[in-house]
Symmetry: C2
DNA sequence: TTTCGTGCAAACCTTTTGCAAAGCC
DNA sequence: GGCTTTGCAAAAGGTTTGCACGAAA
């Protein structure tokens, strides 16, 4: 008997499949509501909130209900497949994780650009020596205006 | 007629006076409830939440009520006198601002260490050229374990 | 005196939870 | 079949707001 994910594999966006596979690999079931949430996330234009996902899904009459969206977002975030974006005000937006990357967030429209160089290792090591903290992770984001909003 | 702030100036912590003066300079009244909130913030051991401030003030029977604490924290944050600290989960803690500094947050107990070097100007300029964004600010924090929690 | 801030309680939103029914493997 | 997940509705937090009263300059 084949799984839901295998049945739909060919008709789904590869980015959706990639997330679903990793969810499956970590022992979680790939259900229709979860696939719908992943599709909504992959199709979001930038960082998305739970409300954004619900809105997108509502329009397609595929919304599994807000509680399930919250549960799925939390699960995927815990698995590292979604990543939280911190805005100056708003800290409850997410993106589909793309490994260790950092983001520039447009203060006006929320558009994102990403980059991977962060050159913080050396600084982190220096800080470990001077403060005695053991550093496990970091948060680096830039805020500003995207090209479209500058015009 | 002398202001509340002037009357109490000598008996207050200089750090409280510094914040109150800047609040006054920007045209906001320095009232007893606001002074109490500033005192609570200055006396907090690390980053504080609104609930922390309320608790501290409650113990001294000086709490102006949660709504006023929220309003004061928001005002001081808008004025740049308080600064928001972003944790991995919790994004609603604040510190009394100390200019442009960055923080290392202990994932276990919330202790902070700060530093000022961030060497991000060059990276920011490179990113502006490559992405077309205009960068206005940044967020940089490290997370880990403080010396006490490592033991 | 006039304006700004306070305090209470109610409203609001977002997020979580309990639980019976349904779905996945 | 056994275990996980869902969906609803209700609860729980946390934050904001309306408005009459009080305080600051």
């Amino acid at each position: 008997m084949s799984s839901l994910l295998d049945n739909q594999r060919d008709s789904l966006d590869p980015a959706v499949v990639a997330v679903a596979d990793r969810m499956s690999d970590s022992g979680h079931k790939v259900t229709r509501p979860r696939l719908a949430v992943i599709e909504a996330a992959v199709n979001a234009p930038g960082a998305f909130s739970v409300a954004d996902l619900e809105h997108w899904l509502d329009q397609r009459a595929e919304s599994p209900g807000i509680a399930s969206i919250f549960r799925t977002v939390r699960l995927l975030t815990d698995l590292g497949l979604f990543q939280r974006i911190h805005g100056a005000e708003e800290c409850h937006r997410y993106i589909v994780s793309q490994g260790h990357r950092h983001y520039i967030v447009c203060n006006n429209c929320g558009a994102l650009a990403s980059f991977d160089e962060c050159e913080l290792r050396e600084l982190a090591e220096r800080l470990e020596r001077s403060t005695g903290f053991h550093i496990e992770s970091h948060l680096l984001e830039f805020f500003g205006r995207c090209p479209r909003c500058i015009e």
